[in-house]
């Protein structure tokens, strides 16, 4: 596209504006955090927080623990997600549509809610634990600690692997597989030699995503981890000050955490660059009927995975209708009292949630469209730096976003803690890299000729952007925005450091109720949130038609 040199265009102003926003809400807080991590209270340079971190086994362990459980979660999620995606796409499974919806749904609750439900089921006085103990006399291994966190996060995150690999398989041409078959490849060999390598970029991408999510998760270890300390929890403890507040130490831990995620991110990029090739299927793979016995096994596997991952939410929904005593603990019988109680919280938290979520989505969508347009259609040094900047939040764990914002905006000149604005900023930072990436991908697929056609017909560049570019991107972006909306609904790790009574969202409300042990209302609010998620997902299906689910 032609650009007359030297003229200051509207788009330059937009570029500079976006850079300024990133500068204020991302770079400034991160630099501030870096500064805090190496400055003592009286302003002298010191590495003593890092010395303390690496010197004391306990602190070092929090990061090692996080790394271990993220790695374990990643492995299990791949072990479940890849075979499930393969079977789902290669073989006829009854109730595929329902199965897919359930898989997506099981990834969409806040992880700590799942953890909480698993405690109700398998905890010390959990339903299944007691049943087994009382009827057969078996003691099941403890759900608390490492095992529990990995179980909860795996069941929460394998759907990402499933969706990514399913997306990749949609681009594999049937003839590739038929060619391998005609050359005498067995089914098993075909899976390892053809299918896996073809999907490797997506597998690596989903592995990274699972790792990052597990690494950043705050609520699950807190609820079910008990003695198993992870770094997001530690940052929170240092910041909130269970014993004593220590911002600088929290900042130092954050810096270490970012370093680790950055390294993992770069390693993944390196690995996936070896597998980059373009594919576009003329003939998609069609599910085939498996032999009867195999078919039974396939069904059993698929439905077992889905039932286990849906179990916590189903059990919470069931629990929400149980009778409770005055402390909110369950007693025999059924009642709606939990919902009556829950309404007190929901009536306040729901408008807040809608406000914060709505504003965040609006900002994320606007930013995504503008940034995608500038990155794809108007390459320049300025816009390339925006591109890089927009990916920065991808490697920053939620609790680090939380603490960086909290440290930056709790003192003059700009006091924002406790406001709706800072919550919106946190949500946007957390969510924007995903929506921006998918918007960029969408725009890259729209041939530039369509916009040139509009200009050749006399439309101004601005008009072309609004009348042609934006509507063509709209479908994909709306679909992406609805998924972002769901993740914003369930955001906890950053918002827990930034919320006030005024800005308590539904998810924060559940967290508060869970930590107070008010089981009845907690499960009722969680069920209401789940209904919201289901509604959003239904809306997504409506908008995206048969578009691939992408998170």
């Amino acid at each position: 596209m032609i650009r007359p040199p030297g003229r200051l265009e509207l788009w330059h102003v937009v570029s500079i504006g976006i850079l300024a926003v990133y500068g204020l809400f991302l770079v400034y807080p991160l630099l501030g955090m870096l500064k805090d991590s190496v400055l003592t209270a009286d302003g002298a340079f010191s590495l003593r927080y890092f010395q303390r971190f690496f010197g004391e086994r306990y602190y070092l362990n929090t990061v090692l623990n996080s790394f271990k459980l993220s790695f374990a979660t990643m492995c299990f999620a791949l072990l479940i997600g890849i075979p499930l995606a393969y079977l789902y796409n290669f073989y006829v499974i009854r109730g595929r549509a329902v199965l897919q919806v359930l898989i997506v749904l099981s990834s969409m609750s806040a992880p700590f809610v799942g953890a909480y439900a698993w405690i109700l089921l398998l905890g010390r006085s959990g339903l299944i634990t007691r049943f087994l103990r009382n009827s057969i006399g078996i003691e099941i291994p403890t759900i608390y600690g490492f095992n529990g966190v990995v179980l909860v996060l795996t069941l929460q995150l394998y759907p990402l692997v499933f969706l990514y690999v399913t997306g990749a398989l949609r681009n594999v041409d049937r003839s590739l597989l038929e060619a391998s078959q005609s050359l005498g490849t067995s089914n098993l060999k075909r899976f390892f030699r053809i299918v896996l390598p073809l999907c490797m970029t997506s597998i690596l991408a989903s592995a990274l995503l699972v790792f990052m999510r597990a690494m950043a998760d705050f609520g699950t270890p807190l609820v079910i981890g008990e003695g198993y300390r992870t770094f997001p929890v530690e940052i929170y403890k240092q910041y909130v000050g269970e014993t004593s507040q220590n911002y600088s130490f929290a900042a130092a831990i954050s810096v270490v955490a970012i370093a680790i995620t950055a390294i993992v991110f770069l390693l993944q990029k390196l690995a996936s660059s070896r597998f980059s090739f373009k594919m576009n299927a003329m003939n998609r793979i069609e599910p085939k009927k498996a032999k009867p016995l195999a078919s039974v096994l396939i069904h059993a596997f698929a439905y077992l995975v889905v039932s286990v991952s849906m179990l916590p939410q189903a059990y919470l929904a069931y629990s929400s209708f149980r009778k409770t005593n005055v402390f909110g603990n369950f007693v025999a019988g059924y009642s709606l009292s939990s919902y009556r109680e829950a309404w007190r919280y929901v009536s306040r938290a729901l408008p807040t949630t809608l406000l914060i979520g709505g504003l965040s989505i609006a900002v994320v969508v606007l930013m995504s469209i503008l940034i995608a347009y500038m990155v794809v259609r108007r390459r320049s040094v300025l816009n390339n730096s925006i591109d890089t900047m927009s990916m920065l939040p991808y490697i920053i764990p939620g609790s680090v976003v939380g603490i960086a914002l909290a440290l930056a905006f709790s003192s003059k000149p700009l006091v924002l803690t406790g406001t709706v604005l800072i919550m919106v900023v946190a949500m946007c930072i957390r969510r924007s890299p995903y929506t921006i990436r998918s918007s960029v991908a969408i725009l890259q697929q729209i041939p530039v000729a369509t916009e040139e056609a509009a200009i050749s017909l006399g439309a101004s560049k601005l008009k072309t952007f609004f009348r042609i570019t934006t509507p063509m991107m709209a479908n994909g972006i709306i679909a992406g925005a609805i998924l972002s909306w769901v993740t914003i609904l369930t955001e906890l790790s950053a918002s827990i450091m930034l919320y006030s009574a005024k800005t308590q969202t539904l998810t924060l409300t559940i967290y508060v109720l869970v930590s107070r042990g008010v089981d009845g209302p907690a499960s009722a609010v969680a069920t209401i949130l789940m209904l919201f998620t289901v509604l959003s997902l239904a809306l997504f299906m409506l908008f995206s038609k048969n578009r691939d689910l992408a998170l």
Partner: protein
């Protein structure tokens, strides 16, 4: 309305790479003008410079007498048809066609009337209220053409508009395009790499290679008197043979495979030298032993229905392709010796490098 296009000393660079070093061109008012060349020759680049989608690193572009170098593409009043059609997928066929008219802020009644007029002209009126993804390639192409023409542009620019269509549809659409262009009478610049397509639709053709125009002329002139060996081989098929130009008093000609072929079409000032001779397959004919000039041996034959192609080895070792109308009898068997005649007035002679034609300018060409 329709204007002439003048390009003076155009230069196109991408970084250090020079795509078009220095190109000048005059396209007449109302003319169907084609830029023809192999891929990467700069033809699309030049078209997009005329449209305003590529920057211009040097030279002057005029529509009529107006210099358009710095004019925004939106204000050049061009109609452009793109290779992939670039139909707006979120608008109906009618809205696509009306899009340019709305930008010109015409009254609603006139927009509707003109949209209907062009829907009818390209014969897609029955699909007016459909979304474009329900249309076939040929129908989308018609929408693109109607959309470009509806704004009454000064020039119509078409970038390989038929290359995404299947062979049969391509023939049908190129007739339609030619007919519509003639009835509207608009200056048209058409880009293609398909020489047959170019010959079928164009008033004049510019053959490009490496960012340089090798020849501009009517389809007939390009075919019969190509300016250099590149044009001779790119337009149609030809046999490029090594030869020797001779002069013998008033008679001049070329010796091919040791045989002298007298020519009356050579430039008068060309002295004896080694030359490249272009003889098209149909300019050879199988002659009786007495009439022929060159001996040869048939290597193989290909039956293609209307014609039969023979590959014949000459005494010089060169293998030439010749075309004969098919006959009811068996084709000549391999290894059969034959004598070939040459339609000497149709052959072309170039200097040894193949860049300068040694043919006298044809009268009236």
């Amino acid at each position: 309305m329709s204007v002439s296009i003048t390009i003076k000393n155009a230069v196109k660079r991408y970084g250090d790479a020079v795509i078009i070093p220095d190109l000048s061109l005059e396209i007449r008012k109302g003319e169907f003008f084609t830029l023809l060349g192999p891929s990467g020759c700069g033809k699309t680049t030049l078209l997009r410079m005329i449209a305003g989608f590529n920057s211009i690193e040097g030279g002057d572009f005029y529509f009529g007498t107006t210099r358009i170098n710095d004019l925004d593409p939106a204000k050049r009043n061009i109609g452009m048809v793109f290779q992939n059609y670039a139909i707006f997928p979120h608008m109906t066929v009618r809205s696509n066609i009306a899009f340019g008219l709305r930008n010109r802020k015409l009254p609603a009644g006139e927009i509707a009337a003109r949209a209907d007029e062009f829907l009818g002209l390209v014969r897609i009126a029955e699909y007016a209220d459909r979304l474009p993804d329900r249309l076939s390639g040929g129908q989308q192409q018609r929408v693109a053409l109607a959309r470009a023409l509806a704004i009454h542009p000064d020039v119509l620019l078409m970038d390989e508009p038929l290359s995404n269509l299947d062979a049969k549809l391509r023939l049908e659409m190129r007739e339609a395009i030619k007919e519509i262009q003639r009835s509207v009478g608009i200056t048209t610049v058409y880009v293609t790499h398909d020489q047959e397509e170019a010959m079928a639709v164009s008033d004049r053709i510019a053959v490009m290679n490496g960012g340089v125009i090798r020849q501009i002329g009517t389809p007939r002139a390009l075919y019969q008197r190509p300016a250099d060996l590149f044009v001779a081989t790119f337009i149609g098929h030809t046999n490029a043979l090594d030869g020797e130009l001779y002069r013998n008093g008033a008679e001049s000609g070329v010796s091919l495979a040791g045989v002298r072929v007298p020519l009356r079409t050579l430039v008068s000032d060309a002295g004896p030298q080694r030359v490249k001779v272009s003889v098209r397959p149909e300019d050879f004919y199988l002659a009786g032993p007495e009439a022929g000039v060159v001996d040869g041996v048939v290597e193989r034959s290909v039956f293609l229905g209307l014609n039969t192609h023979y590959h014949v080895r000459l005494p010089s070792g060169e293998v030439v392709e010749i075309v004969q109308e098919s006959v009811m009898e068996d084709p000549i068997a391999p290894a059969t010796p034959v004598r070939l005649g040459i339609k000497s007035q149709k052959i072309n002679v170039f200097d040894e490098a193949g860049v300068v034609s040694l043919m006298a300018p044809a009268v009236g060409a």
